[in-house]
Symmetry: C2
Subunit: 420 residues, 2 copies
């Protein structure tokens, strides 16, 4: 069986070399990897086909199988994304705070890599390349552990990454790929705090919980979004329909898609029928409390079914939307505090006072006023790339880019100062 400890130790050793690489060498490696992807589509495809065949044999549903597939378009997209990462500014070495103390000491805080990052992921094999590219660009070694359902795809991609490292004169030990399916190896990996500085799970809620509960390495939990928009009585209702529609429909299967619309009672009778009419054209179905359905005369509306309380604790990841009528801002914020995963929540309002109060009091990773929740994304919010969306509070919150894969050191320069 794979010696996880030895792999993590090798990654740690490699991380010291990686931390001192200049940007040009890292970028040459990334561009080399992009070339390799373009040149090896046939090989990659053949390996991916083995995973697809196995998945089909195991009876996975077609939606799931689609997520495993590395089409020509997906591989080309991966190559383009890597070149984008290469073009991003290198966070390592950036001086982000400096001062001169009264005693003449010059103090600087300088960004350095975290060291070793472990990524445990499910399903999508492109994560192998994405995660490695972002970790390496920020000067970190990486230990990868993909899902057993994409073992062949991950293995060929990991091989390509190690080849690109070697060609750029960087130790291939910087990327460690655990290429055996045993679950035990994950449990072992989670205890390698001696060598691994950060653990990023990428997958469903179960994976995040498992990592959080069993890891002695700090874990970035996130990626699970029960997202809300509160439509205040002062909102521009036409625009509110557009924003709610965008948040729900533009890409319903992702974590920043809308799950629940909270609607101010004063406008519910006007707004909700318009919302239902607009969204059902896109195939959305609704869950609404029975009482509100009666009040609004929705009983005959086919797309609307009565909601159970637990429906408001669901991340739909599909074309279903919870709708709840609330008495006002106060009740909306209380509902969100009780049901949100702290990912992305917003208010649609014409009231500056309500906007201000919502932004101040609501404590989610990203708090919106008059915008779609779909903007919670490293690319959209100006980070250039995204490693994960953190819903935990330590180190980094919300979208994480390259900078969020770094630590810092204090550099203090004197002329022989001593402490009195």
């Amino acid at each position: 069986m794979a010696d996880v400890r030895a792999m993590c130790r090798k990654a740690k050793t490699a991380s010291r070399e990686l931390a001192l690489l200049d940007s040009a060498q890292k970028n040459a490696m990334l561009n080399g990897l992009a070339d390799w992807l373009r040149e090896n589509q046939v090989v990659i495809s053949a390996e991916n086909d083995k995973d697809i065949a196995k998945a089909r044999k195991a009876g996975l549903d077609e939606a799931m199988i689609e997520r495993l597939r590395l089409t020509e378009g997906v591989v080309k997209g991966m190559a383009v994304d890597i070149q984008k990462v290469a073009a991003l500014p290198d966070p390592v070495g950036e001086v982000f705070e400096k001062s001169i103390l009264a005693n003449g000491l010059r103090v600087r805080k300088v960004r350095v890599p975290l060291g070793v990052i472990a990524v445990v992921y499910e399903s999508r094999p492109n994560v192998t390349v994405d995660a490695a590219a972002l970790a390496l660009k920020s000067g970190n070694a990486v230990v990868l552990r993909g899902g057993s359902e994409t073992l062949h795809s991950n293995r060929v991609l990991a091989g390509g990454i190690r080849r690109a490292l070697e060609r750029a004169g960087i130790t291939p030990e910087a990327v460690q790929f655990i290429d055996e399916p045993d679950r035990e190896l994950v449990t072992e990996l989670l205890k390698m705090h001696e060598y691994v500085d950060l653990l990023i799970p990428r997958g469903g809620a179960g994976l995040h919980r498992f990592c959080k509960e069993h890891s002695s390495i700090p874990v970035i939990t996130g990626g699970i979004g029960i997202c809300h928009l509160f439509v205040d009585d002062s909102a521009d209702l036409k625009r509110a329909v557009e924003v709610v529609c965008n948040a729900k429909v533009q890409r319903p299967t992702v974590c920043n898609a809308l799950d629940t619309a909270l609607v101010h009672r004063a406008i519910a009778r006007d707004f909700i029928p318009r919302l239902v009419a607009a969204l059902k054209r896109d195939g959305v179905s609704f869950r609404m409390e029975a009482e509100s359905m009666r009040e609004l005369g929705m009983a005959g509306e086919e797309s609307v079914t009565p909601a159970e309380e637990e429906d408001f604790y669901r991340e739909w990841l599909s074309l279903t939307l919870g709708v709840r009528v609330v008495a006002g801002l106060e009740e909306a914020m209380a509902h969100i505090a009780a049901h949100s995963t702290g990912h992305s929540d917003g208010i649609l309002t014409g009231s500056a006072a309500n906007a201000e109060r919502f932004q101040r009091e609501l404590d989610s990773a990203v708090v919106y006023v008059n915008a779609s929740t779909r903007f919670t994304d490293g690319g959209e919010l100006g980070l250039g790339a995204e490693v994960a969306v953190s819903t935990q509070r330590l180190h980094a919150r919300g979208p994480m880019g390259l900078r969020e894969l770094t630590s810092y050191k204090w550099v203090v320069t004197g002329t022989g100062q001593t402490r009195p």
Copy 2:
């Protein structure tokens, strides 16, 4: 037995109220606590006497007993420190990054409290007050677990804090004090990741290790410093003696005190005898490799004894100094990389090139050029206060002040933007 889960849940609930307090109310509470300390010295002293009597009965040595003692001076000092914390700027609400995106969205990153901080500490009862003051000032609730040897002292201080909270109109549930000595309660506390956002151990290496290995809450490890100064051949030797002396002698029992001096071979014969002569006046004794002792004619020097390899892995916390002769910068950096705890390490040199290389390549929380390691301290480096010195890499590294007890949220304000 204390219901740790219920206490953590109460702290979490209180943390929501705390996050929204304005600075004036928090400062009034802190100043009230300082007053309470000044007015209740007799009561505090009487409780502390119970701990001292118990410690003496248990046969603790006098140095240990001294650390438990709350003299009038210590209590007054605690009151002064709290007033200093009250006077510091409030990090909560600070906007530290902002931008306007091409689509018109205004994006801000705003500091918010972490939520609930647990502090597990040993020995010094003043940590009860220090830790609570810093956590509360930064808007966090806190769960305190002190050592059994200061249970009476901690209990009376925790009572004072809760009273100060009540008088300032803040829920006293913001401070939870686990006032039973069972060790099991600590183990239970370490699993409360559902409610607790950060765990700060304050104590010896054993406590840090225990927390790191058993906690599902992110842990700030630190406070253990095997610190080095490398005296390069180009160093100003007179000044180098002063700096090494300061780093070793000024307060030898703390984590940023010097443990090992590495000396360039080219100046060893000149420098080491001067160093020994100067430091032994302050009672320092030395550990040096037998071979170097012979070469330097140190065999007859009473204060110098032969070093074992493990001596260079010791945090002395006393007036002992390891001395090793090295071939140059390269060997010095290799020695530090192998033996340091990544706390505070420095070079004394006249060479700008060597200084630059040392600062770039050495990866400790604080890297010094021509200065004493004793400056690694939140107060000295301009943070105003210090919660801990982190030697781990996530979230915060080196001295941690109020700002390092915060997280942030993204606040995004639009005019109805949707994602294309």
